[in-house]
Amino acid sequence: MNTRASQFSIALVTFFLGVLLMAQFTTQQRMDVKRASASSADGALLISNLVEGNARLRLEVSELEAQLATYRSATNQARLQAMSDELNHLRIFNGDMEVVGPGVEVTLAGPASVLDLQDLLNELRNAGAESLALNERRIVASSSIVPSADGSLAVDNVTIRRPYVFAAIGDPDTLETALLRPGGLLTVFSNSREGLVVHVLKQDHLTVPAHASSQAFQYAVPMK
């Protein structure tokens, strides 16, 4: 009798073990499939991203080759000029100086979270924005956007208030197209963020201020 009972419970336990094993196996399979197979739309997006990325890399290669040619053959005067140009180029890229140029102004009216603003900033960078400011504060590589103590937002530890306005210098058409494309970030915002209204305005002339503090390295050491 006792043996019967124990046989029965063993049978029951192993039965459920079998069910669980299979459930686990199929779930894992589903997750793997999700990771492994990009849909054809994803594949197309990936290809277009790579094509654009490689075009930018080729441009950089040809610019570097031209610069190198200048250093190798030109006069001292021309070399000095090339060095000065490169310094300016880097200073602009690093946000060291006030700059002007065409681009877009993106205004967010209504509630926007820190993640929303990071998302928008990322979208602008991805679309080729060169120089950026949020509510007249320069955004550089090391800028942070976090919640502030009073429930508002802080950019590089300085509180900013709504409406949030991005100024992005770059090709106005490219920037506008990237933001407004169907299925793009602004579509996502308008479908899922109650009360958030976003305006994109192309501009011929935007001014982006210099970043307040220039970086000095205390911990990081450049390698030669």
């Binding site: 043996t3 124990s6 046989q7 063993i10 049978a11 029951l12 039965f15 073990l17 079998g18 094993l21 299979m22 459930a23 199929t26 589903r30 997750m31 499939v33 999700k34 197979s37 990009a38 054809s40 594949g43 990936l46 290809i47 991203n49 790579l50 990325g53 490689n54 930018r56 890399l57 080729r58 441009l59 950089e60 290669v61 190198l68 250093y71 190798r72 000095l80 060095m83 880097l90 602009i92 690093n94 700059v99 002007v100 140029g101 993640l115 990071q118 990322n122 960078r125 991805n126 060169e130 590589a141 976090v146 210098i169 090709d171 220039s214 390295f217 911990y219 990081a220 450049p222 390698m223």
Partner: protein
Amino acid sequence: MMKQSLASRSNLTLTLMAMVLGLVLAWQLEGPRASPPVGYAPGDPRDRAVNAIKQLEDEQTALKASIVRLRSELAASQSQMAADTGRLQRFAADLDLQRATAGLTAMHGPGVVVTLDDSNTRNVPASSDPNIFVIHEYDLRDVINVLWLAGAEAISVNDERVVGNTSVYCVGSTVMVNTTRLSPPYVIRALGEPAILAETLRNPAYLILLRQKVERYGIKLQVAQASKLTLPAYTGGFSVRHSSLP
């Protein structure tokens, strides 16, 4: 003695039978499923897409290698020139600092290593979105953002340096940084004061969504302080075509 061994044999048989029954039943409940494709026939448009991606990524690798080579040749010829006069030496020092700030130089120093990985959870409830069990681009962006806040002086994700025009993007479930595909685990290295970096990451005011996913869904987040880390140089392009000095 005889009786006991008989009983244990029948136990074993029963166990096996019940197990098989369980597996079969669960399989039936799941219903027939198309097995995932292992590869595509040549000429299939999907096969061409896979080939195109492979070719583009090979080209990307070659272009990045050229950029690294050209930048170091350029820096060498500039410092050779600068050796001539004092004024040029200061010029070259400025250039070196701006290059380091831009992320064009590999760097080393103390800092933290943040490792993020998908959940190991196998039994995703049918009601949950499997998406919540994997690391997304916004998780990486949030960590990077907090590290900059904490005073990080340089950051990289896997082998990609994070610079002024870096975007952390998602195509399907693939994360792209500097238009390069990355796969988990994502290893974020940041140079700076290790204790401050680690402490800021623990601050409950930040990384709220990520922390929830760690607690509820088994997303993996590890922070390790390190006395010496090496970060790679940025190998992409940076264009300044539309921005000019006033």
